[in-house]
């Protein structure tokens, strides 16, 4: 035991006590602020509380995975909004990682033209605000595509128009795994009906999120690869590995140690950035909260729900990525 053991222990205990005190003070303060706000609101005759969640919402949500209609309660509407957030963020994250990895490798490519193009992409996309890109993409889709009545037929049963992208959708009997047929989209007066429809709002949100985040992912991947000691690549070459195998078997596994933590932050950003979708009319969580806030007047409560959901979603993503990080990290180095 070292000579300075006792004072160190004492200062550690003091630190713990101070931190506990701080946490208590913060929680107490928070509680007081909320109580005070509620009291003031009550004094002004403003109704507050979460009881409205059980009332019927009364508005429609135009798309999504959850079976929802306007007769259902507010909590179902919030749930549908949350699922729509995931519905946009998940494919956007996958696309961003794939595209970003390709771009990042491209930035280190031996070919000057490939390197240059990737660099231009990264620098342009990173430096234009996401909201602007999303609106641009959305208005490009809705201005340039033909009306639904004159939809472009890309393939049998695949239509592209101002109404979005329509695809055939497999039909399944209840309980059966294999589909027994397809539901084909067809002209239904104003719009293409039937099949699976991806609205232009959805396409703009997923597209903009993926393209924007990919630029950041590219830089992370580039930095990760650059961090691997050059000798590693030389050693791989000396072993006679193909260039693709060098990257896959030697460089990338080592680069991942640096890539994964930074990538986690990008995925968190992407998820939170999906709230910008409200600007182009995609009905995600914030959009639903906005509508509920207006029809009930419970601003405080609706914002609190949005905050809590994003917090939980972010913590879940963090936890998942940390697990993955623990698997790819060098063992025995901690």
């Amino acid at each position: 035991m070292s000579m300075s053991g006792a004072p160190e222990r004492r200062s550690a205990a003091l630190g713990l006590a101070l931190q506990a005190l701080l946490v208590a003070a913060v929680l107490g303060g928070l509680f007081w602020v909320v109580q005070h706000a509620l009291e003031v609101l009550r004094g002004r005759g403003v109704r507050s509380g979460f009881d409205f969640l059980a009332q019927s919402a009364g508005f429609e949500i135009s798309e999504g995975w959850l079976d929802y209609d306007s007769g259902q309660p507010f909590w179902r509407a919030f749930l549908a909004g949350f699922i729509n957030t995931v519905r946009a963020a998940l494919p956007a994250a996958l696309l961003a990682v794939v595209l970003g990895t390709l771009l990042g490798i491209g930035r280190l490519a031996p070919h000057a033209l490939v390197r240059g193009l990737c660099a231009v992409y990264v620098q342009t996309v990173r430096n234009v605000p996401l909201l602007v890109q999303m609106l641009m993409l959305y208005f490009a889709l809705t201005q340039l595509l033909p009306d639904s009545a004159e939809a472009i037929r890309l393939a049998p049963g695949v239509f592209l128009s101002k109404g979005g992208l329509s695809l055939p959708w497999p039909l399944r009997e209840a309980g059966a795994f294999w589909p027994h047929g397809f539901e084909w989209p067809e002209q239904g007066g104003f719009n293409i009906v039937g099949g699976a429809a991806l609205s232009p709002e959805y396409l703009a949100v997923v597209g903009a999120l993926a393209l924007y985040t990919a630029a950041f992912v590219a830089e992370i991947v580039r930095a990760g690869i650059a961090s691997v000691a050059p000798g590693q690549k030389l050693a791989a070459q000396a072993l006679g590995l193909e260039p693709g195998a060098q990257l896959r078997l030697v460089v990338l596994p080592q680069a991942l140690r640096l890539i994964v933590p930074a990538l986690t932050n990008q995925l968190l950003s992407l998820t939170k950035n999906s709230s910008l979708a409200v600007a182009v009319g995609y009905p995600e969580l914030v959009s639903v909260a906005n509508t509920s806030l207006n029809s009930t007047g419970r601003a405080f409560e609706c914002i609190a729900i949005v905050m809590a959901v994003y917090l939980l979603l972010s913590l879940a993503i963090s936890a998942g990525m940390n697990l993955y990080n623990a698997r790819v990290a060098l063992r025995g180095w901690r």
Partner: protein
């Protein structure tokens, strides 16, 4: 968008703890300082400040919209100006606070504005649960649909499977859902955060129909469409939308003022008092109703905490209700809306002034 998300940091250091404590303290004081004192005396505050703070839209033609010089005009704007004229003696002493539809109620609750005159529909939920009083209805509106003529629709019942664009944070979404549900007609609504994005998507052809209050549809068609004749307002009105200025509860004196000034403008139209003839009536009028409105009869202003000429100044500033209507949304404006339900009760409309006596 910042990208400083919560990646688990290393062990907490003392410096960062101190920084955290400081920021929490800052946040707490901001919250507490932002909570305004309960407004018991709005009138005193307005007089002391020398201006009326009036919550309006970011720009809805005919109701509240700034021109290229930043001058606000519209029916709601004139209502605020009339109140400023009555209270402060100068119709220019209004501070207009542009609010989007989601912000409007919080702004009034928080005391950031004295009046919310932002084409706001009066309904039970809002009246009974937001801590507000609605005052005098200054426009009877209703929700309708705007469609391009080329889709060959003449009734809302033909909108089966159509996509309808609208703005978030209004009663419109709910009305659309109710209407088409009751008619058993499937439609899709695309809801945008801003009014501008919603009508731009409509004019780009994303939606077959656009919905908001009919007064708003007329403004859109006449101001934003490349060719107004290509668009049609469908005959169906799917909701009642009585629009009225709103004040906070808990200040009856101010409530009475905001209720009675617009009412005096309607009474002025009933009694034939105009911006042009009010001076002559004040000097040599005979009719007691006209006399009172012109500030030459009994002193009713003191009952409101104002002076004798309160209504004289309001009418002198913006004219009577009819003049205000024609200038902002009627024949003399780009909207060219008919008087319809907004005519006087004795001319087939719904406006009925409470007696100023």
């Amino acid at each position: 968008m910042s990208h400083h998300a919560s990646f688990p940091a290393a062990r907490p250091r003392r410096a960062s703890t101190r920084r955290l404590a400081l920021s929490v303290l800052c946040a707490a004081t901001t919250v507490l300082a932002a909570a305004p004192a309960l407004a018991g005396k709005t009138l005193d505050a307005v007089k002391q400040r020398g201006s009326v703070k009036c919550g309006v839209t970011n720009g809805v033609a005919g109701f509240s919209a700034p021109d290229t010089q930043g001058q606000w005009s519209g029916l709601d704007v004139d209502t605020c100006r009339a109140i400023a004229a009555a209270v402060l003696g100068d119709a220019r002493k209004v501070e207009f606070v542009p609010l989007n539809s989601q912000q409007r109620f919080s702004a009034l609750q928080a005391g950031e504005i004295d009046i919310l005159a932002r084409n706001t529909t009066w309904n039970l939920t809002r009246d009974a649960s937001l801590g507000f009083h609605f005052t005098t209805i200054n426009y009877y509106d209703g929700q309708g649909f705007l469609v391009p003529k080329k889709i060959k629709v003449t009734s809302a019942r033909q909108l089966k499977n159509a996509t309808i664009c609208t703005q978030a944070g209004t009663t419109n979404e709910k009305n659309v859902a109710d209407y088409f549900r009751s008619q058993n007609i499937p439609v899709k609504t695309v809801v945008f955060e801003s009014f501008e994005a919603s009508f731009k998507a409509f004019f780009a052809g994303r939606c077959q129909a656009f919905t908001t209050d009919v007064s708003g549809l007329a403004g859109l068609r006449n101001k934003e469409a490349s060719n107004p004749d290509d668009y049609l307002i469908l005959p169906e009105l799917i909701s009642k939308a009585p629009l009225a200025p709103v004040v906070r509860r808990g200040d009856d004196e101010w409530f009475a003022i905001v209720k009675w000034v617009p009412n005096a403008l309607i009474e002025a139209e009933e009694a034939g008092v105009t911006q042009g003839n009010i001076d002559a009536l004040k000097a040599s009028g005979k009719d007691p109703v006209q006399q009172r409105l012109a500030g030459a009869g009994d002193d009713l202003g003191k009952l409101l905490g104002l002076d004798k000429e309160w209504s004289y100044r309001a009418i002198k500033a913006v004219g009577n209700y009819g003049e205000m209507f024609e200038r902002n949304v009627g024949a003399q404006s780009v909207l060219k809306l008919p008087r319809g339900a907004n005519n006087l009760w004795n001319k087939g409309g719904l406006l009925y002034a409470l007696p100023v006596q």
